[in-house]
Symmetry: C2
Subunit: 501 residues, 2 copies
């Protein structure tokens, strides 16, 4: 370790910044889980102020020169510290380009947008959200302008925030590949005309869903001594520190599988955050890595494990025990087919694995048009619905089944959605690598995911954000990223289910 | 309003400090309601850091000189601003006496103590809490040393934090008066040997208790658009801002009246915070006043209103509707007598109005001995039990019925308890003044406390912390504080209930 003044200053001010980030995260968790609706005007001011204080610290002369000075000493830094410093330096440079007041205003706007979106969604009325969404897009466009460089412009600026190095040119290629390979395959499936049993629709008491969620948390070895299972409009995970990782869920009485797969998804994120090496505590790398890598973990548990036959072979009995009346006539095979039914549907988070990327493409295409200035912001909903019909072939019947369904935009997270598809692709590659190391099917018989968690911890999670996704993926799989694994995984799995040769 | 640089600096830095205080409050709410037990080590570091950042702001040259400069311009300040500046100046002077690191350490210790107390209480094991309590007392004694002045020493330093100007000499007088007047009266009551119906012990489902709590919140006109009803080990109220006021409660299946009176108590605090004038938002006076004044509001609603016959005449039917089976054979009169039964008991927050001050005296006496260095800190529990026997005449049978019952000490709040008794005395004086202005009994027939809320808002709440308690009490009652009202109220009420001439 370096032991000079720059390093000390860097550590000291980083700790101050992290403390404010921690506070902002707790406030955000509170906003989404418990805060009263009427508080958001006042709350917005406090959030804006804390963001301002953070901004002042992160752009302070002392901090900036410490980071720059450390960066010039590259050769004396460990690989991990160099990676961290490079990241922090980039963040600072971006912050420096935004006037402090404007940044505070942007944060105020986000806290307002989150609450407005909640209201709009609960009333199924897009018009409530439309003006603040427009404002938020305009503010984000200003940020994009500040952050543009000769090699990074428009939408690419935002994509780079969530998956550094992944631009439109790369995403376009990925989505083209998925379209070419998956769309005809989906067509073949729909031609089969198979419909699973419809005994899954009915009333599934929410209290029982919560009981089963708790069971799933145990299966995933999620330790409630260091975790919370909460409730919110949109499921999410918050890793405040490895000793405090929280997931939320949303329970629908008439759709019990929703809370199951959302739980598995969020528990995937949570396991990642929980498993970050304790050595990284009190550093800026003590959290999960890039968004796509994070989504690879959630999608891995939700789908590759959570929608697998091997998983339900072990846990289906417990599910029937929990819902003895409701699932009386249901067999394991029915359930497996039901949760893997390929069928275009409205809600992204409920979508099957095969049509899921199409949901992402809708959002990707729309964000591209928005941030490359190709669309009138007063017609976002129409365009959303148009694109949805184009990709999924069904007509959106109401805003909550359309543009209001996701929370991301209300949090200012433009450029985030594509990481779900990329993460799913990473997850498949990781899966094939894990399969080489041990027999996943056998291991699931133990009743929990301990072996899987341990493997992922050792190959991915423990590194936190101390390495690039490229490097971590190489450590975990011995290969560069190759989306063909994703195609292979999907086609293998669904060919069997739908008996396609 | 002043319009100079000192004023601007004062406002600017005050806003920054308030934003950190806001964050710390939310974190504290989170700790007490939802945070996982295992998080507190990491959390403590963040809290210590935020407290340090707060300390740096509050003792910064810019802030200190702004405050001092404004103070020298006394004659140009409004009464309210002068009151605020005087208060802030005193706070700063205290902070300046504590080294920043020590202050951060103290805050770390508190976050640890809160969680240790919770664990100790849940396991009914004082030994778990004892070492951290001792540490906390030693740290507090160091603060007391820093803050001592020729006219304020030992325990008085702490008392002054919660009710400025109220020292041992005054509290001793108050408690002597209460002892002289109430102890013989309680003796008379116990000689009557009256026992209310014991049909109140049984099983009262917690979900129904929550339903009734919600009803009480409506009765008290507590608007859930701006409020939350939460759950925690020890009931408390948090007023983050007038647009976000939260109470918590603790529900015992076998003691349904506990949650009723705790709810009324906390709703009293909450109504105060909600009613602070909006004009005070973004000032340091936008919160309730001194602790005793705050407790006067909670004790007013809990007891003077909440344990009155007139109140239950209106709401008893709803209670029976909520618990039709459980309260089948109970009449209003039985219930009224039950909730006003005078009987020494273990738990302060469940105590009747007459023995309540005795619970306070136990804690007051012990704190006095602790902070005037009259007691060995390794024998706190023994002393607690000894004093309890002396004042209440019953032997403590387990730590949760004794020294572990209250959360206050774990939060470092030494010197707080006496404000409950003082607040109760204020409440009685306020009651007699209110009675002159309108017919409380008639007003309660409307089914809610709107008239009462409005009166209190106009006479007390709206001022927030912009005036001294002395001044507010004078505005509200037209008189200086006089504890005889408290005696009068208690003896009147209980003479009727126990038929004492």
């Amino acid at each position: 370790m370096l032991n000079n003044i720059s390093y000390q200053n860097y550590q000291k001010i980083s700790a101050d910044i992290r403390a404010i980030d921690y506070a902002l995260s707790i406030i955000s968790w509170d906003s989404q889980t418990v805060a009263p609706k009427g508080c958001f005007e006042d709350r917005g001011e406090y959030i804006a102020n804390l963001s301002k204080q953070r901004h002042i610290l992160a752009t302070s002369k002392e901090y900036v020169s410490a980071v720059k000075e450390l960066y010039t000493q590259k050769e004396n830094l460990s690989d991990e510290l160099l990676f961290e410093i490079t990241r922090v330096k980039k963040d600072i440079e971006q912050l420096q380009k935004v006037p402090a007041d404007e940044y505070a205003e942007y944060n105020y706007l986000i806290s307002k947008a989150e609450m407005t979106w909640q209201k709009a969604k609960s009333e199924n009325n897009y018009q409530i959200f439309a003006p603040v969404l427009k404002q938020l897009i305009l503010s984000t466009k200003k940020l994009v302008k500040y952050w543009s460089t000769p090699s990074l412009k428009g939408y690419d600026v935002l994509l780079d925030l969530y998956e550094p190095g992944y631009k439109m040119s790369k995403y376009d290629k990925l989505f083209d590949l998925l379209r070419v390979k998956l769309v005809p395959f989906i067509k073949k499936i729909s031609e089969k005309g198979y419909k699973p049993s419809n005994d899954f629709y009915g009333s599934f008491p929410i209290e029982k869903q919560k009981v089963f969620q708790k069971y799933l948390a145990e299966v995933m070895c999620f330790d409630l001594e260091y975790g919370v299972l909460g409730e919110s409009e949109h499921p999410f995970t918050n890793g405040f520190s490895p000793s405090d990782v929280r997931i939320t869920n949303h329970f629908y009485e008439n759709l019990f599988t929703s809370s199951i797969f959302s739980a598995l998804h969020e528990l995937g994120h949570a396991t990642y955050e929980r498993n970050v090496s304790k050595d990284l505590f009190n550093t800026n790398s003590c959290c999960g890595g890039t968004m796509a890598l994070h989504e690879s973990q959630s999608r891995f548990y939700e789908n590759i494990i959570g929608r697998s036959y091997d998983f339900w072979k072990i846990h289906f009995n417990k599910l029937k025990e929990t819902f003895p009346k409701e699932l009386k006539n249901i067999r394991l095979k029915d359930f497996y087919q039901f949760v893997n039914e390929v069928k275009p549907s409205y809600i992204r988070v409920e979508a099957d694995e095969l049509t899921y990327p199409l949901h992402i493409m809708v959002r990707y295409q729309l964000e591209k048009e928005i941030f490359n200035d190709l669309i009138d912001l007063d017609h976002l909903e129409e365009r959303w619905n148009e694109l949805f019909y184009e990709y999924l072939g069904i007509k959106v019947d109401s805003p909550i089944n359309g543009i209001l369904q996701d929370s991301h935009w209300s949090g200012g997270a433009f450029g985030y959605f594509p990481t779900y598809a990329l993460g799913s692709a990473y997850a498949s590659q990781i899966y094939y690598s894990m399969k080489k190391d041990f027999n996943i099917k056998e291991s699931l018989k133990s009743g929990n995911t301990k072996d899987i968690n341990d493997w992922l911890k050792d190959k991915i999670h423990k590194y936190g954000y101390s390495k690039s996704t490229k490097d971590i993926l190489y450590i975990a799989t011995g290969k560069k990223f190759n989306p063909e694994y994703y195609i292979k995984y999907l086609i293998n799995k669904y060919s069997k289910i739908y008996d396609i040769k």
